[in-house]
């Protein structure tokens, strides 16, 4: 009996030991996260409730919600919010569809398919600034190859100022973003496609399923988990993206392609109003967090339903 009690005590102590060792080993990563992420995040949230102006030290102190009201009352805020939504949704949908189509095309056993699989990654490895500047010149109404070819082929009569027209600027930058990012989807979805057991697809074909049925009822459901992760990640990355739009249009012409991250940059680097920039950053962070909490809650409820848990 005594030896059993001693063993029980030892087991608890060993578990605790393991836990402490694990904590100890991850402590550098925790310090890193706290120092580089948590501390700046907290500073931004705190600054959003204060007057912080880099060129005017006489403005200081607690402002309450003044910065948030200032941001919401800005004449360009609603437009930036709308543009952010359009830019994010169209980019992610376009990238996903193009990525899926190319992944299906590359998931064939053909001679030389390896060459095409390596080619497809090229847009993604081009640095954003290089891609943005190159496309800017290609789309130029005066010197651009895109206008030249479109006029030559007869799609348009005269050159179009794609990045200089408020009706086309945001959509043009979105198109370039889709071009640059879809290879990431292609590679991920291709890997997922290759992981689907061939016998399931063959069995469905034997059972009389046509090509569309095989794709939508057998293959596509298998891609759902990977797709949800991809889409979730890219919604965040696209919504907070600054470089592409800044390089190509700087949010112009006249705010036509301005999104919330561009507006944050303007508050901080043009108006030197760190309080307003922090307020808008905090609002954006809050919106994204709420979005994901709702998404995960709905997912959890659905999963529980499937498992028969109330």
């Amino acid at each position: 009996m005594k030896s059993k009690e001693k063993l029980k005590k030892q087991r608890i102590t060993r578990d605790q030991q393991k836990r402490w060792t694990a904590l100890f080993l991850i402590s550098p990563a925790v310090i890193f996260l706290v120092g580089l992420i948590a501390y700046p995040l907290l500073t931004v949230v705190l600054d959003s409730f204060k007057h912080v102006n880099l060129v005017n030290n006489s403005i200081s102190g607690f402002t309450g919600l003044e910065n948030y009201i200032k941001v919401i009352k800005n004449e360009h805020f609603l437009r930036s919010l709308y543009n952010t939504g359009i830019w994010t949704i169209l980019s992610v949908v376009g990238e996903y569809l193009l990525g899926l189509i190319t992944a299906i095309a590359l998931n064939k056993r053909l001679k030389g398919i390896g060459f095409f699989r390596s080619l497809i990654i090229i847009p993604f490895v081009v640095p954003i600034v290089v891609a943005g500047l190159t496309w800017e010149w290609m789309l130029s109404p005066d010197f651009g190859i895109v206008n030249y070819l479109l006029v030559k082929v007869g799609f348009i009569e005269n050159s179009v100022n794609w990045l200089g027209d408020s009706n086309t600027a945001l959509l043009t930058v979105t198109f370039v973003n889709i071009w640059r990012t879809f290879p990431y989807y292609t590679i991920t979805l291709l890997a997922a496609l290759q992981a689907i057991p061939k016998d399931i697809i063959e069995a469905s074909a034997v059972d009389g399923a046509n090509m569309m049925d095989r794709f939508f009822k057998v293959i596509f459901p298998q891609l759902k988990p990977v797709s949800m992760v991809l889409i979730g990640m890219h919604i965040i990355w696209t919504a907070i993206n600054f470089d592409f739009i800044w390089v190509m249009t700087e949010g112009g012409p006249y705010y036509a392609s301005e999104t919330l991250p561009i507006q944050i940059y303007r508050y901080a680097m043009k108006e030197y109003d760190i309080g307003a920039a922090s307020a808008l950053s905090s609002m954006m962070m809050g919106m994204m967090t709420i979005g994901f909490v709702i998404y995960f809650y709905i997912k959890k409820v659905r999963n529980n339903k499937v498992r028969g848990i109330n």
Partner: protein, 429 residues
């Protein structure tokens, strides 16, 4: 077990050491090691440009003559320099010496970023050889906050051969003449005579020149030493500003300029001119470099004064060299700055846009531009970050949204005063 624990502890300590090592920053005010000083020098030249190559060679010679000083050059574009300086000044981590733009002088001075150079410059032998107006542009409230290392007025660049081919003999001197000649040119050739920038840093620079031609300033110094935009207090001033916006509109409506000019940045404007797409533009003497990249289309260029509204005026750009208060090697930085401003350096690297009165490049890119300095105007010494954005927005309202010029002038006046109030520079008078 004990050895496993020891290994875990060593691993954790090693990872912590790595984190600490990652925190070091090489870009800011340089190190001193056994008397060896490294100066961080941020420049805005384009790698491969002639002046970049020449500068590097001279700097290497300087290092040989001063073996205890090493110059660590970082090549950045102006936007990057600006953003890095804003972040660096706030964090107290700045280079020793940096290029800048005239538009940044007041705002960085408000951030208390600069070393006070007043005594240094007043005791400097070369002070008498520096253009007075250039030194004024880097002086705020009698405090000299930088050195004017590049100056240049804007002039009207004209492709003589293109005009001759179109049968046009007169170069316009006024706005009315420009529109008249522009219409004639468009009728004869179906092309556009002129170009302006609707966006980028150059748009406000062009606008300020046109405002000065009509006798108005964007911010006037008041008796309390602060500034105010006074357009709304004087109908004549408001009308003069509206007149400038109408001039821009007329240029487009009369087909003197390409409608795409509304959204041209400086690069589009310069490239359209250097390739011969347009016959005229208001630009600076850096266009001499385009003679190398576009030898065929740039060989016929002449320089004239900018067409004016009521009186001749043009934008005078003064690019400063900043030495920062937080630099750990101020004396060495000042010594190096003197070298950059020396006759030897300026003659070899930038004879056409030097602030030195004893250096002059013969020929159009030097002498012809130098003649225009007399009528040059610069930005007022106020924080311009938001004001220049307001000016671009005003132009966009007029040209892209077709808003009324007078209403836009009133809007711009209000926005300028709001910006001055936010930066604490608005006069109460």
């Amino acid at each position: 077990m004990k050895s496993n624990r020891l290994v875990s502890i060593i691993l954790v300590l090693f990872l912590c050491l790595l984190l600490v090592a990652c925190g070091g920053n090489d870009e800011t005010s340089g190190k001193a090691d056994d008397g060896q000083v490294t100066l961080q020098y941020w420049v805005g030249w384009s790698p491969g440009e002639a002046n970049a190559k020449e500068s590097r060679e001279l700097i290497e010679e300087y290092e040989k003559e001063n073996p205890n000083i090493k110059i660590d050059i970082q090549e950045l574009n102006y936007e990057m320099i600006h953003d890095k300086l804003v972040a660096g000044i706030s964090a107290g981590e700045v280079p020793d010496i940096s290029w800048g733009l005239g538009e940044w002088v007041a705002e960085f001075n408000s951030m208390d970023a600069f070393m006070d150079l007043t005594e240094y410059v007043n005791n400097w032998d070369d002070k008498k050889n520096i253009q007075e107006r250039a030194l004024e542009a880097v002086t705020i409230n009698n405090k000299i906050v930088g050195l004017p290392f590049q100056t240049g007025a804007r002039g009207l660049l004209v492709h003589d051969d293109i005009l001759k081919k179109a049968g046009i003999e007169t170069v316009p001197k006024t706005w009315d003449e420009l529109i008249k000649v522009g219409k004639e040119y468009n009728k004869k050739t179906n092309n556009y005579l002129f170009g302006f920038t609707g966006t980028s840093v150059r748009a406000p620079q062009e606008m300020i020149g046109y405002f000065a031609q009509n006798g108005v300033e964007i911010a006037t110094e008041m008796s309390d030493g602060k500034f105010k935009n006074t357009w709304k207090e004087d109908t004549k001033q408001l009308e003069a500003v509206a007149n400038v916006f109408d001039f821009y509109k007329d240029l487009i409506d009369s087909k003197v300029v390409d409608p795409n000019s509304k959204t041209w940045d400086w690069e589009s404007a310069d490239t359209n001119f250097s390739t011969g797409n347009i016959a005229m533009e208001v630009s600076g003497n850096w266009m001499s470099e385009r003679e190398v990249s576009n030898p065929d289309t740039m060989k016929d260029v002449s320089i004239f004064p900018t067409p004016y509204g009521e009186k001749p005026a043009t934008f005078l750009e003064v690019k400063p060299l900043f030495i920062f208060k937080d630099s750990k090697h101020k004396e060495e930085a000042w010594k190096f700055a003197q070298f950059i401003m020396s006759k030897e350096f300026q003659e070899k690297v930038q004879p056409s846009n030097t602030p030195r009165t004893d250096v002059m490049e013969e020929g159009k890119w030097g002498k012809d531009f130098q003649k225009l300095v007399e009528t040059g105007v610069s930005f007022p010494p106020v924080s311009l970050g938001n004001i220049t954005t307001n000016m671009e927005d005003a132009l966009a309202k007029v040209l892209q949204n077709n808003e009324d010029s007078l209403e836009v002038a009133k809007w711009l006046s209000d926005e300028i005063n709001k910006s001055l109030e936010t930066s604490g520079e608005l006069s109460n008078n």
